[in-house]
Subunit: 494 residues, 2 copies
């Protein structure tokens, strides 16, 4: 199959036509969370971005196998292969078994992503579920002379790899090995490495380290980069289409993944590398130590002094998708309030659309060229801000029909509905929310409101204005306003 | 700590005083599902039962580490170690990767259990996440001479085990090895076993078998029984308190688990074995082949010709808990309808309780002896049917207060509220549901109903009976009935 999709490939540094290795199948791997604490908002942005990409690829006809891992072992506190395992440390501090930590934060992660209306990936493999495969790849790289054992640990030999593959290390991140060498201080404990640029495939566990497995070299645990190499190729093959992650993973994590895979079979493992950009909060880097942080749960409750109010998951999702995934994005209460207005406007127009009566002609919009623009935005490296801007042209048109300025034919109405349904709900993954629209799923509220409006109408008809006013006042106490229009009374929750 | 809890131990065949090895900590392991199809209702009953047990142990002060596994490899189609892996087979039939099957049905399982208001376990380990440990235990049992290799597979040697441990095999199920021998036909392919009673620790994979791992004996996969032996002891220790599962797992699965663990270290692995009984449907065994089946989703939608209507998850949970976990339970539409009435009655009484005004004396009930009976029921092997029967004494008392026949003091009211809150919500795990009670979380519906009842009252007061009747009729269309009582109009959804 042929698509018009262009994607920005971090490997080449430019937009390229997307061509699947085995169309219509697409293999996509995205680095998931290390489950040792509540998922942070920057991670949510990454996973919402790839959810949108997964949805769009599916929408245009690809059959996507989407693999996103759970890192439940091997991720140390710093990138130089030193420090404690993040999960073990949390377990020690909270006096829990490491796998209790894993369970707690995996559940939290799934819960938050479900609130954001993310679809689950096709496969969600874990690092601890692939110890055998990780030992297997380490053995193979050792045998090929591109790794060495040192005191029970095994390190990838970057210099040997670079020699064999003509300076390939750094091809993704643009880093030069020479710079890495001169810029890296030799820390204590790193003396096991022949070279500071080398990285761990297998680490011997200290006696206190709980998470450990038997291996030919020591009781230990796999290096962090190794899991993604074995899990992506196990489920997607030695060469697959798309690998994604946050841009902070480009180096060393993704660079090391490429090296491990190439060391295995000499093949280029991934055709398109996609990276999402960072989130800031009020113009500053988010950081626990400075207190400049915001958790997803705090957004939904408003319980953070950086917020003027709470925001629903759909407003936050809409806000994130109003920026391109490769642009950095600044969170602020003001920006979220603006996004909330836009989201409500869009959702209200979709409700209006459902009640529009067709006319004999379409006046006020060139529907076909509008639809081309919508798809064109998505085909241009998933440009959701341009898509959303164009959606608002549709909103203007819909509201114009409502107020009698424009008209639409039955067939155009059908086309408009299916277009918006596809792009707003299926691709952007937005949905109506009770708080944002009376068209939410609460049928009962709607039905009861009809009885109340009926009583109000009867009171007016019998000139019992006191009763009619009383109803209006009682509704107003519930923040419900009633507007009388040509098509009868309409109500909304403010 | 000391508790009055007695539990029926399948190992001894009688009720025993419960004594935790390392109180207040309790280790509990429950065999989870093999994730190759939608979870069936019998499994739901097992997991709801152990959820109640987990909740009660926690309620009386134990700190429970509750481990429930996911079987994502190694479970073959029949118990004689032959046939295809259940997950591989489903993957082949649906043209998916086995781990896509695992993901789909793990999500389904979690979703259904959440609807039933089950709490997640503390750890949810997978078979594929413990291949290294399973190979390790197999090596050890081989080394000790209680297993043998045969054509790349490794079998547990029941005769050798029985010799070493003086006929221990069968201690849980009561089966005798001699009977097993004479009753088991030798199937083709079983010739690898020295004895039909032996069971697989490791199976060599056929060339077509996708799910395979390297081992010292072959590329293959672990035997089904092995995973629970290694995962329970990894997270709960070599000896732990409670092991649970459906009674169909008693033999061979649990019998083999005990044998494997004893072969490892000679210790009795589990102090209390708890088994849940079976579900039938209209008096007959549930079976896909005869069509006598019912899925959880069909209960919730009513979409099965064996049901007169749909039932909410809480009604089904209540229905299940009205039987003792060790009794068999027959599902039928009539029995569910009866349970629904009981559940609604209980929940309505809890709503009434919230609005009761205290008096100077408690008249109509001996609260302390009632509370003793409630706890006594639970301490008697988690006897939820007796607990529920006693709860209805409380319901009678509450309704008596409502109608002015009985009274209650402020401190007794407080005690009654906390008792019911603890046992109904925390221990039985029931909760209010929108459909079952107007006290559900839909505040808006309540508020709108107040406006409607207010309009109706005003219409009556001004002798506008036509409007009052119209409101009654419109509400009736929504299945809402209004009853005029001493305390004003009350409404309910039928």
């Amino acid at each position: 199959m042929e698509s018009k999709l262009q994607v920005y490939n971090s490997l080449s540094g430019k937009k390229e036509k997307f061509k699947a290795i085995n169309a219509p199948n697409v293999g996509m791997y995205v680095c998931g969370p290390t489950v040792y604490s509540e998922v942070h908002l920057g991670n949510c942005r990454t996973f919402i971005s790839f959810d949108m990409i997964f949805r769009y690829l599916t929408f245009i006809g690809y059959k996507v196998r989407y693999v996103r891992n759970i890192t439940d072992a091997g991720h140390l506190e710093n990138d130089a292969d030193e420090g404690e395992d993040k999960i073990s440390k949390k377990a020690r501090l909270t006096e829990l078994e490491p796998m209790e930590i894993v369970q707690k934060y995996t559940l939290d992660f799934h819960h938050v992503l479900a609130l954001f209306n993310n679809l689950p990936p096709s496969i969600e493999p874990t690092a601890t579920g692939h110890i055998v495969e990780q030992i297997g790849l380490t053995e193979q790289i050792l045998k090929d002379g591109l790794a060495y054992e040192s005191n029970g640990s095994v390190y990838f030999d970057v210099a040997a790899y670079n020699k064999k593959f003509e300076g390939a290390y750094g091809e993704l991140s643009g880093r030069k090995v020479e710079d890495l060498l001169s810029n890296t201080r030799t820390l204590e404990g790193q003396s096991e490495k022949r070279d500071p640029a080398d990285f761990a495939l297998w680490k011997k566990a200290s006696p206190m380290h709980i998470m450990r497995w038997k291996s030919p070299w020591s009781d230990g645990f796999p290096g962090w980069h190794l899991e993604c190499s074995v899990m992506s190729s196990k489920y997607l093959g030695d060469q697959f289409d798309i690998h994604g992650g946050g841009m902070d993973l480009k180096f060393p994590h993704h660079e090391c993944e490429i090296a491990q895979n190439k060391a295995r079979d000499g093949k280029k493992p991934v055709n398109y590398w996609l990276h999402t950009n960072m989130l800031t909060l009020n113009g500053q880097r988010m950081s626990k130590s400075t207190g400049n942080t915001l958790l997803p749960g705090e957004l939904f409750t408003g319980d953070n002094d950086k917020l003027s109010k709470s925001f629903t998951p759909m407003v936050v999702r809409f806000f994130m998708l109003q920026a391109h995934y490769r642009s950095s994005l600044d969170f602020s209460s003001d920006a979220l309030e603006a996004a909330e207005k836009g989201f409500n406007k869009l959702m209200e127009a979709l409700v209006v659309l459902e009640s529009i009566e067709p006319s004999k002609a379409t006046i006020g919009m060139d529907l076909n060229s509008w639809i081309l623009k919508l798809h064109g935005a998505m085909d241009d490296d998933f440009n959701t801000p341009i898509l959303i801007a164009n959606l608002f042209e549709g909103v203007k048109f819909i509201n114009g029909i409502k107020y009698g300025d424009f008209t639409i034919t039955a067939s155009d109405l059908k086309l408009m509905k299916s277009t918006l349904d596809g792009l707003v709900f299926q691709v952007l993954g937005l949905k109506h929310e009770g708080e944002n629209s009376k068209s939410g799923n609460d049928e009962m509220v709607n039905d009861l409101m009809q009885i109340i409006l009926d009583s109000r109408l009867r009171a007016r008809q019998t000139k019992d204005f006191a009763s009619a006013d009383r109803i209006r006042d009682l509704l107003s106490d519930l923040n419900i306003t009633v507007k009388d229009g040509k098509m009868g009374a309409e109500w909304e929750v403010n």
